[in-house]
Each structure stands twice: as C-alpha cells, then as structure tokens.
Amino acid sequence: MEETSEVIKLNSRVVFCRVGDKRILTVHQKPLYLKKGFPKVNLASAVGKPYGNFLLVKQKEGNVFNLEPLEVGSAKEVDPRLEATGVTRDNRDIVDSSTSQKLTMDEICTRTGSGLLGAEMIDLLVENSATFSSKSEYSQQKYLRKKLEKYSDNVTLMPPSLRLVSEIIFDYDPLSVQNLRPDTLAILLNTAGISCGGKYLVLENGCKGLVTAGVLERLGGEGRLIRITTKKERSGELEAVEKLDLSKNLKQPLISLPLQDLECLNPGFEIPEKDNCFPLAECHVMLKSMGCAVLVKLTENWLREYQVLPDRTHPLVTMSGNSGFLLSGIKVQTSNAEFIYPVGDKSLVEDLDLPDFDKFPKLASATCYKCFLKPGDALFIPSLWYHNVKALDFSVAVNFFWCGMRKELYDAGDPYGNKDPVPVARAAQSVDKAVALLRTLPPKFAQFYGRKLANVLYQKSSEG
C-alpha cells in the first residue's frame, strides 16, 4: 500500500484553501492567475515542503507571490469570528452610504499591486473606514471576514481527498453532480460496504465520477471496480477521479464496460441514488416482490451544520434541503424455481442465450452458473438441478445417472431417473382428484381453498 507523500510535489494536485475559497490546483512551474484583482501565485515555491499553512510573500520582481511555510508557533490571522472585545455596541448610528471608505479603489489596487496583503492591508482599510469603530461587534467581524476574503495572505495547502474533492465539486454547483451531497456519498460508500480487495459494479450517470472516485479510494489498489457506461464518455465524466490525483496503482482496479456489452447482471448489492424518490419507489416495490433481498430500505438524510462559537451557537442559516434518496438492500439466496418458470421438470424459457425478458421478467433474478467443458472433462449435476447444455462444436457426451433414492421409488421404465418418482406420480393423481373436487365450488371459493391446501401441501411435505 502506498502512502500519500508527505511533501508537496511538482505536477501533483493540491487543495488550495484561503478564507472563503477552496479549490483544487495542479502545482505547475508557471505562476497561477487565481481571480480578478488578485496577484499571481507561484505554487512551485511550495514544492518539497510539507502540507499545511503558508504565507503569500511577494517576489522581488513582478507582481507574483511565493508561498512560504508559516513558522511553527507563529500566529495566524485570527479568525475574525473569534475576536470578542466584550464591548456591546448596536447599529443605531450607522447610515447606509458608500462614502465610509476614505481610500479610493485605485489607491487600494496600487497597494495590492505593490505587494500589500494580509494584516497590514486590513489594518489600513480599517483605519480609513469612517464607520468601523461605531459598528457592532458582530458587524465588525463580518466586515473583517469580507476584507479577509479579498486580502488575506494566509493559504492552506492540503493533499486531495475524497472529502475535499466531493465538497469542492458540490459547493461549486450541486446540480453538476445531480445533487450528490458529500454526506449521501459517504452513506452510499458505507452501505455498499466498499473495502480493499472487493469486487464492485458502479453505474453512475452525470456525477462527475464521484462514486467511482470514492470506490477507488477505498479499494486501495486491490480488487475490481467495473464501471458501466451507458453512452460515450464525455471529457470530464471522471473529473472527480482526476481531481483525487490517484496513482496508477490505485486506478488499476477500474474497468469501464459499455452497458450494451453486458449479457446478464447479478449484482450483490443494489444501491442506486436519486434526487427524487419515484423511480426508487418503483425499484423498492420490485426488489421486495422478487424476494431476492432483505433489509430493503428507501432513505434520505437530513444534515444540518452548526456555527459553534462562545455564546453564538446556532444552525447555519441556509442548508441543503435535498439529500437525494438511497435505496439499499442485501442480496440473499432465493429458490431459483421461483424465477425460471418451471413446468414439470422443464422451464418455459426456450432460449437461455437470448431470453425474452418481456415474457419472463423474473428470469433476470435467477442465479446462473456457467462453465465450459473441454474434451475429457466431466461435470457433476446434483439431482433436481435445472440445467441447459449447448454444444459449441461437434461433440459427443456420455451421461451417467445415479439413483440416490431406493430403487423401487423410481419408475421402472425410466433408467435415467428423469421421470417423476413413483410416489410423486401417485400423489399427482390425488392432486387431480382434489382439483376436480375443488372445481365443484364457485370460482372464488375454489381459488381460496386451493391456495390453503397448496400451503398445507408445501408445509407438511417439507417437514422432517
């Protein structure tokens, strides 16, 4: 298992955090232009240094800023939300006007242009603000935070992780990932039980590869992830995987497979996610009626973030109101007989290679074991197992039948034991008689008592 390198490397991706700004950047030699009115940043200056806090320091020439690690123990700009002076003021004297800042825009720009950032710049703005001193403590902090967003020289560089990547992509535009919230992604990955060495199948549409990225991160380079694609992959379809900056080894479990190449699916877990619950409600009903899964649940999650400050703790004033819906269940063994439309000892399904799923929808839930036999191979098929053999080439098969029960139980004229055993044939006659008797009742009653007797037959015959 590889460890993410502890120091920043050239051409790797880093998460760049400043007050009110969080994004993923590639560490290039060339200085980066981040946003309007902000000088260029030379990320390469952080190469070889450990992740953590940095200060933006102006280069000697040109308006480019280098990143210098913050000294151990040195104070960072205090988070403005934390400064509590204890003086209570209110806003009775504040008049709304655009003249409170004495410095003009040009004067401010000249100063940032000459390398003035951080605390000094903020102090200058505060000094020249006519209203700052009369603002209430709360609005002073709000003012400072706004100015910090513009002029802060504190930067934190972090290695990319699924947590940061999913938060950044979601915060930028939730709809670009079908509103797949980071907490929903977290629950999805855990519910699906993703762990190192497992084999998983993902079908995701328009989530920028967030689910794929999440599964890959938790596979740790071992196991298999089959990604089903429904159409031609667009660029950016796997944006999250790229942003996560996974090594070649960690990406190795990923295989993409177009949907049309698949013959038959047999997923172990089925965990679709949707931002509206109706398609999933339908799947929920289907899963339950097929009886192939237990603990089938349709859930959504309600997440609230809190501002926690001394005497000022409350939920954030806006929150996401839609987590999407998760459908989950655990596959269990079912009796295949329910799915293969048996009549007598045969199945109604004619062509197993190209089954008519419209006619036989339940067949999709049947477990199918396939194998190829070579000359000289033998295959043991236990009694009562439905099977289908197809010759791929000219072939001769030699069959041997074991009769597991006492000899007299088998039909004397049937050396293969293919026919119903003697007691079954006799019981079938009794069933015919029973049916004839039931049919003397009105249809509704016949159906009711028929079902009752069928249950008795099933229960009693399976007992000891």
Binding site: Y51, V72, T156, D183, G220, H284, E305, Y306, V308, V332
Partner: protein
Amino acid sequence: MHGQRCIEENSVVILYVDFKTLRVLRVTKTVDTKDGKKVPNIYQTIYGPLNVSEVIGKPYGARIELKKGFVYLMFPSPELWTLALPHRTQILYSTDISLIIANLELKPGKIVCEAGTGSGSLSCSILRTIMPCGKLHTFDFHDQRVECAVEEFTSLGYGEFVVAKHRDVCQDGFGVELTGKVDAVFLDLPHPWLALTAATKVLKNCGRIASFSPCVEQVQKMCVELRSNGYEQLKTIECLVRESVVKTITLTTPSLCTAKNRTEEPLPKRMKTDGSDPRDGGEATFFSMPVTSCAGHTGFLTFATCMKNRS
C-alpha cells in the same frame, strides 16, 4: 474476508429472522450445559428450532427452512453487526458511522486511534475500511468492555488489524509509541477536550480528528479547545436519517357520467384498504412517505484538521 463465502465452524453469522429481529449466532456443533455436558447446539427461533451444525458449509445469504418458516444466514458486515451486537454501552449507528469514516478520510492503510471502544460498533466499520494494511488502536477505561471487544474482533476476523487496550486516554494518553504516527483520531468521551493534548501528540501533520457529543455544551467547549490547540477546518454537523415506506396505491378519478350505471352493481362489502373503489378502475402507482416515527437526535459530530505548524 472477501474470499470467505461459506460458513465454517466457529464463524459468526447474523441470523435474519425478520427485519426487526437480527441475532448473533456463533456456529458451533455443540454447546456446554450448566453441568458441563456437551449437547448439540440447537438455536430456538419463532419459526422453530435451528440445528446449528447444519449451517456449516452453507454460503452466506443462504435461506434455511425451519418448521414454521425460514431464516437467512447473513455475513456479519459492520452494518448488520451494528444492528445485532450485544449492547454494553450506547452505540453509534450507521448514518453517523458513515460520516465519521468519510470525514476522517479513512481508506486502506490508515492508522486510527479510537476512545472509547464502547460496544465496538464504529470499530468494525473503521477496520473494514482500513484493512488490510492499516491499524486501529482502540482504548476504553472499562476493563471488561475491552475484553469483550477483543473477543468479538477476533471472532469477526479483524484480530490482526486491531490493538484494544484498557486505558484512560484522558489521563494516560495514547502511548508514546504512536507519537506523530496516527492519521485520524476519534473521540466519544464525556469530556473529549481532556484527551486533546494526547490526540495532538499522536496525530500526523494534516491528520483528522472527530468527536461525538450528544450535548451542545460539550461541543462548544470542544470547539474552543480545538481552535486553541491549532486545529483548523472545524465543522460541526448533525445528521438524521429518514426512512420511507413504499406502497402501491390505486388513484382514481370518479366519473360522474358512470355514477348512475354503477349503482346497479352491488358495492363490495369491504372496500380496499387504500379506500379506493375498484369499480372506478384507475392505475396502480407507487406511493412513498416518511415513517411516522424516527430518531430525532443522536449527537453532534465535530471534525477538524490538526495543523502541526501551528500547534
């Protein structure tokens, strides 16, 4: 763990009786009676007795027919374990667990510290995520809880990936041998700030910490301490899960024109449970609504990043 698909002797199985009844079953051929005799292991369920030795060799997920019904033999995944485990303390449930795993940025190979161990509900999820090359160091100040947890971790197959110790981390820390080696720390303690100095000591640069507290007062104190110990990116959240019930109903549009003709037909004695009149026709649709009663509060989760160049 992925290769293990069949139940062996001494395996742990979660017996699925119905969606509300999940039981931990230890697969042994015999059990000891009070007077020291060995008798065949028969497990009683509402559907009749289960002869435990018969489940050996069956695949996980297998359906076992009993006298009056059937049960499933489930693999003890951390999610099912959480629903079935013997409670020694209050436990964390899957929603909070998922958020803890994601926000601690856990993946294979990570080194994690947990205090306290409690009933081991979270521990199993952590272990599944960090296996096979990561390690979980879990601590509890209650001696007997640690003993039980060790026994359970071993029987679930996590033994070699976990170190469980009886220790009060608030007083004695996580151990000098872990200094600067831990990727993530999880605290579920009544006074989590008392373990913060110890946590900071063992965490790597940019390591993550999570703290679970049911009360907001604990959260406030913890956040103050986190900030003054050089932690950044603080985030406090609360997450509740809401389950929906799904039904098929028939929505109908009563037609006034046919109302007259209809009276000629006798009304069925009992209406369908959803109140619709079958004579109206109409299409069956799926209908879902949240369950009427659910958990209102579990606890607050606080996450932060340890910045070594500030602490």
